[in-house]
């Protein structure tokens, strides 16, 4: 039972403060839990479907598509729909997060896995108008039948088409083939596949250079039907074509995979020779939006990436021009990303998302202003502060300037005609980009990848730029080339070279050039205009521009035969510049927030200070006039600690001017606690202390009239005694001459030791220094706690004289001690405390004066006791083996001795007792454990 209660006592007591803290913590935890649960609640619903549509040239070839239909959870009435197409190699799952966010914005979203991918049936026809586009038309039919989807007319759903890359081209082709589409947002997609896979940057009609690495990646992707490099890079998971689910998956042709026979044959033919035949050209042309641009009536938002060696910015430019030619609203946005750069920095993907939603909201929902035709783009600003990515700054211009920029700068190049070698089979080959590897955006843009092979490259450089140039668009130059075979395949690149010689091939973009009909001698070569891929880059002042003309590039198919060409460029390089207004960074809002936070803190601080000042002023005026000339009045003081221990029960006494008052009591009687309260270190539970009539609270200015030594000295160990006293007096902020330094030092009596560091002092030296510190400025009330602790007898005697002298001049001293003799010899008045209460107080002389009792040492204690009791004394108490303490009750001491002697009892000793000792011993003798152990 007692063990149990002891255990219970060890538990923290339930105080009000603890209860409040605990409940606050519980409420916060509950709020966090609720918030977590709530944020998981989705605001959309989805269902997986398998839709069968009929496609093919005759529209009679059914295909089974794996689809998912999202609906906003809290819709009222019918909502417009969005057809969300995935990229090459992806599935409906690749776009799930975009679908979810569109659905939560109030759109019915239909995603599906394109034919030939994932769990859908059919074969890949490369966005063929007869297959993939017809599939999508079937999906539009299906959407029109859904009761949740709003319609323009019967069978004509209100629908937008959104997609990237493969899905973006589908959006364009579908909008060109089916007028039911109301808005499209195609991103990072192509205009003409012939140009994309066979790019030709020179102004000639010759077929371009086969982009073998990207083409191979795509083909491998569709053929494998498995998790692929392209889909992995462009985000989203993909799923394998499991046997039995898809149409063609069960019997995969190892050469063609899930590609249709025509597409497979076209690839094999083109990849083998590098020159497409008529059938291949026709197939790629049919799959290109370029053929249907004039039929697109749906407002189009074109988003293209500046870090894209597969479908560079020029593809979107061609699309934009073609669509705008018929008067259809077109808007273009560029971002720092693409097939090489990925989604780009957050600021860019946020901007693209915002533009997309704005476009759809207006053209599908009819909400919001007409989106302007202003053009936005972004440029790299530097490393992200928090992760290893890049950050970009957004800019906007009034209108889309195309590939020519808003202005142009001419830069002159120097460099003579140089011979360069074409390596057999393109090996070794220069490196410009790493298609499909999805390298870090920063490495693509900071030029860590690009590499030229000596002997295969001719360079032409500019002087260091005098001012920075914001390049935005396609640089152009004039190239001259000579070849012994009459033909040459060249790659023209623009490097940004900094002062240290580090060169950067912006975004890894190169201009492939295939020239025919060249002379053998450079002198007779005609200049040909080469349009480099569009870049967005600031070339800083002091940097140079280097044009490199190389014979090989690992991303392209180059002639197998070795040859040596001679190349030269005309001095003039045209750089299109792009100047716009920076898009307001939403980050500036945070600076306003910061200013608000600081203002709120300052305001709060001011209010707190004002409130405290007012409270102080009220407090400082309270003076008890009756006590104004009394150095110290302690009234009904009580101190109970938080754990229930009561150190001071009730103590009250006065110290008048001229008095040396001793506070006497055993250890733990409550002396030090009383002094702590007196020094403002501890707040009392009840009762008041007045110093010269001023109520004493922690930090009250009246404390400046009190000098104190409480609970031992406290010095800065690294300072000398002298420096310590000086530092203390500096802390008071009072004038130097008031300190009475010399008198204090004399009292300390440390001699030369005062210039030693206090950490080397003995206990007594520190004690003396502390007393000197307490006397600095000769305070009117001196409070010393056990002042003689550690002093040797001569010093104690000296200290007594000092204290007695100190109190003569109207000042007062309060000394606490547990030594009776010390109080008796030093003090004029004494207050005896025990167990937190006063047991005696008054003049020392009064207390010490003869008391009615004596101490006797006798030879026979029992006999003596009998004799004394007969005498009629008040009490007889045995003490020790021979001692007796007798309360005489008026009986003369001589009579007492005579009676004992007469009774034959030997009296060894007779000592008159004093009252103070009586009182003190009564306390200590009864319970020597002291009150601290209660």
């Amino acid at each position: 039972m007692s063990a149990l209660s002891a255990g219970l006592r060890k538990l923290p007591r339930l105080t009000r403060r603890r209860a409040i803290t605990a409940s606050v913590v519980v409420v916060l935890l509950a709020a966090a839990a609720v918030w977590t649960v709530r944020s998981d609640r989705s605001d959309w619903t989805s269902e997986d479907l398998r839709l069968t549509v009929s496609s093919g040239p005759a529209g009679n070839e059914p295909v089974d598509l794996d689809a998912r239909f999202y609906l906003p959870a809290d819709r009222s009435g019918k909502v417009p729909a969005v057809l969300l197409a995935h990229g090459f190699g992806g599935t409906k799952n690749s776009v799930s997060s975009d679908a979810e966010s569109l659905a939560s914005r109030g759109y019915a979203v239909l995603t599906w896995t394109a034919r030939g991918f994932g769990r859908s049936g059919g074969e890949i026809h490369l966005d063929s108008p007869d297959y993939e586009v017809k599939d999508a038309q079937g999906l539009l039919d299906w959407l029109a039948t859904r009761p949740e989807v709003s319609t323009d007319a019967a069978g004509d759903p209100k629908v937008g088409v959104v997609g990237g890359s493969y899905g973006g081209a589908l959006a364009l082709l579908l909008a060109g083939q089916d007028q039911r589409v109301d808005a499209i947002v195609p991103s990072i997609t192509w205009n003409d596949l012939n140009k994309s896979f066979l790019p030709q940057s020179a102004g000639t009609d010759a077929t371009g250079v086969f982009k073998k690495s990207w083409a191979g990646l795509f083909f491998g992707n569709g053929a494998a039907g498995a998790e692929s490099a392209v889909s992995a890079q462009l985000g989203g998971g993909s799923e394998t074509a499991e046997g039995g689910v898809g149409g063609g998956a069960a019997a995969l042709d190892p050469a063609c995979g899930r590609f249709s026979a025509e597409v497979c044959a076209a690839y094999l033919q083109m990849a083998t020779t590098g020159i497409p035949n008529a059938a291949t050209t026709e197939l790629l042309r049919k799959s290109s939006p370029a053929t249907v641009l004039d039929k697109i009536k749906a407002p189009t938002l074109l988003v293209q990436g500046a870090v894209d060696t597969l479908f560079p910015l020029s593809e979107a430019d061609a699309n934009a021009k073609g669509i705008a030619a018929t008067g259809t609203p077109v808007r273009v946005a560029w971002f720092t990303g693409g097939h090489d750069g990925g989604e780009g920095p957050t600021s860019d993907s946020d901007r693209v998302k915002y533009l997309t939603v704005q476009w759809l909201d207006h053209y599908l929902k009819g909400e919001g202003e007409v989106p302007g035709d202003d053009f936005t783009w972004s440029r790299v600003a530097g490393f992200s502060a928090l992760d290893r990515g890049l950050v970009t700054n957004g800019y906007s211009a009034q209108a889309y300037p195309g590939m020519g920029g808003t202005g142009r700068t001419q830069i002159s190049l120097t460099g003579s005609a140089q011979p360069i070698a074409n390596p057999p089979n393109g090996n070794p080959g220069a490196l410009s980009s790493l298609p499909g590897l999805g390298g870090r955006l920063s490495s693509v843009l900071s030029g860590g990848v690009a590499m030229d092979i000596p002997g295969q490259v001719a360079t032409f450089t500019s002087e260091p730029l005098t001012a920075g140039v914001d390049v935005g668009g396609s640089p152009t130059l004039q190239l001259k080339a000579a070849s012994p075979t009459g033909e040459a395949t060249l790659f023209v690149k623009l490097y940004d070279v900094d002062q240290n010689g580090a060169s950067t091939l912006s975004a890894g973009l190169v201009a492939p050039v295939r020239l025919t009909g060249l002379p053998a001698d450079i002198a007779t070569a005609a200049p040909i205009t080469v349009t480099l891929p569009a870049i967005v880059r600031r070339i800083e002042a002091g940097h140079t521009v280097r044009i490199a003309v190389a014979t090989s590039d690992q991303a392209f198919l180059t002639p197998a035969q070795p040859a040596t060409y001679t190349v030269a460029v005309e001095p003039s390089l045209t750089l299109p510049t792009l100047v716009g207004t920076p898009i307001a960074d939403p980050g500036t809002l945070w600076w306003y927030a910061l200013a608000g936070v600081i203002a709120a803190i300052l305001l709060g601080l001011t209010v707190v200070i004002l409130v405290i000042r007012r409270r102080h002023r009220r407090r400082e005026t309270s003076v008890i006039d009756g006590y104004a000339e009394t150095p110290l009045v302690v009234d009904g003081l009580r101190k109970a600690y938080g754990d229930g221990f009561v150190a001071v029960q009730e103590i009250g006494f006065k110290v008048e001017r001229g008095q040396v008052v001793g506070l006497l009591g055993p250890n733990g009687a409550g002396k030090t606690t009383t002094l702590r309260v007196l020094m403002g270190l501890t707040t009392p539970t009840a009762g008041e202390i007045y110093v010269f009539g001023h109520r004493l609270v922690p930090g009250a200015p009246i404390l400046s009239r009190v000098g104190a030594l409480v609970e031992g000295p406290g010095f800065l160990p690294h300072l000398t005694g002298y420096e310590n006293l000086r530092a203390y007096w500096q802390a008071t902020g009072r004038p130097w001459e008031d300190a009475r330094f010399d008198e204090a030092l004399e009292i300390a009596g440390l001699g030369d030791s005062v210039h030693r560091r206090t950490k080397n002092y003995s206990h007594g030296m520190r004690q003396r220094l502390a007393i000197a510190q307490a006397m600095l400025g000769l305070p009117e009330l001196l409070v010393l706690d056990e002042p003689t602790d550690g002093l040797d007898p001569p010093q104690i005697a000296e200290m007594r004289r000092v204290l007695q002298r100190y109190a003569t001049d109207g000042r007062a001293v309060l000394v606490s001690s547990h030594l009776l003799a010390e109080v008796e010899q030093t003090c004029t008045h004494a207050v005896v405390v025990n167990k937190g209460r006063i047991v005696a107080s008054g003049l020392v002389d009064d207390i010490v004066g003869d008391s009615p009792s004596v101490q006797l040492d006798v030879s026979d204690v029992p006999a003596a006791t009998r004799v004394l009791e007969e005498l009629g004394v008040r009490s007889v108490t045995p003490e020790g083996t021979h001692g007796l303490i007798v309360d005489m009750n008026g009986t003369a001491r001589s009579e007492l001795v005579a009676s004992l002697v007469t009774a034959g009892i030997g009296v060894d000793r007779l000592v008159p007792r004093r009252r103070l000792e009586d009182a003190f011993l009564a306390l200590v003798g009864d319970n020597s454990r002291g009150s601290g152990d209660r």
Binding site: A381, G382, F383, S384, A385, L386, V391, R440, S442, S443, L445, S446, G448, G468, Q499, A502, D585, G587, W590, A593, L594, I601, I612, V623, D625, A628, E629, R676, G680, L681, T682, T683, F692, P698, G699, P701, I702, L703, S704, R705, V706, V710, E711, G714, F715, L716, H718, E723, A727, Y728, Q730, A731, G733, R734, P735, D738, Q773, G777, P779, E780
Partner: protein, 288 residues
């Protein structure tokens, strides 16, 4: 009517700031901390001299801001100073700030001199205020000493040039110096969290070492939690989440969003910690 205070005593004049500055200046730990701020750039400079330019450092994937700062460390005085700041921002400066703020009240308590200051009487709020200002002053001085000595040594050894970076453009020397001062200022702002925490612990405990160590340990804990991406959005509220945002000052134009967020976070944390410290100290019983 008796005088409410001794002649010459005014609460607003107690513990003058210069008195506290001198109290701290004479301490060995202050001198050591400031001295190390001069020594560190020297040590780094000597370490750089051991670079033999050998192969094996060309880690292709080691990109990112830090390696670019390290690579460019020897390209000029500004870059050298930047490197010195970058290597000390994570831990050394935290310890220094925690030392100045965590030790200031707790050491007085452990010496026993706190009760004599309070009996002067120095008002408790004033005592904390002066201690806070002086600790902040020494922290700023330490930071400036580090930057100044690094700039001096770096410029003497590597010359005066623009502040380079591998990704963004070079920053001309004059503006680069301003950027460095901006970085220093931001680091100081983020250190407000440490300052608040250490000061609060200094008030709550009498053990100076406990206050300093506790603040540093909580800082490290927060840094570790910040590495755990699974915590998601909660990390934004960690006091150390924005400590690296000073890198935004290296790009052109400056990325200031995270700087503002970091400053808000640090100021709010410091206000809370200091507020609790003042509330607690002005009410508690001094038992030292």
């Amino acid at each position: 009517m008796s005088a409410s205070a001794a002649t010459g005593y005014r609460a607003s004049r107690t513990l003058p700031i210069w008195a506290e500055v001198r109290r701290q200046a004479s301490r060995r730990r202050t001198q050591l901390a400031l001295g190390f701020m001069v020594l560190l750039p020297l040590i780094i400079l000597i370490a750089f001299e051991f670079d033999t330019g050998g192969p094996g450092d060309e880690d292709a994937d080691g990109g990112g801001a830090f390696s670019s700062i390290a690579d460019l460390g020897t390209s000029g005085g500004l870059n050298f100073a930047l490197f010195c700041l970058a290597v000390s921002a994570g831990f050394l400066l935290v310890v220094v700030v925690a030392l100045f703020f965590g030790d200031t009240v707790a050491s007085e308590a452990s010496w026993g001199s706190l009760r004599y200051l309070l009996a002067v009487p120095v008002p408790r709020a004033r005592l904390l205020g002066v201690k806070l200002i002086v600790a902040a002053g020494y922290s700023v001085l330490a930071f400036l000493t580090l930057l100044g000595s690094a700039l001096l040594m770096g410029t003497l050894r590597y010359g005066w040039g623009p502040l380079g970076s591998t990704i963004a453009s070079e920053i001309p020397p004059a503006e680069g110096l301003l950027r460095l001062l901006g970085i220093l200022a931001y680091l100081l702002v983020t250190m407000l969290v440490v300052a608040g925490l250490a000061f609060l612990m200094s008030v709550l405990t009498d053990a100076a070492l406990g206050a300093v160590g506790g603040a540093v340990m909580l800082w490290i804990l927060s840094s570790i939690l910040d590495q755990i991406t699974a915590l998601g959005g909660i990390r934004d509220f960690l006091p150390t989440h924005y400590t690296d945002a000073w890198r935004g000052l290296l790009s052109t134009p400056i990325q200031s969003e995270d700087l503002a967020k970091g400053a808000i976070s640090a100021i709010v944390y410091a206000t809370v910690f200091w507020g609790v410290a003042f509330y607690r100290f002005t009410r508690k019983d001094i038992t030292s």
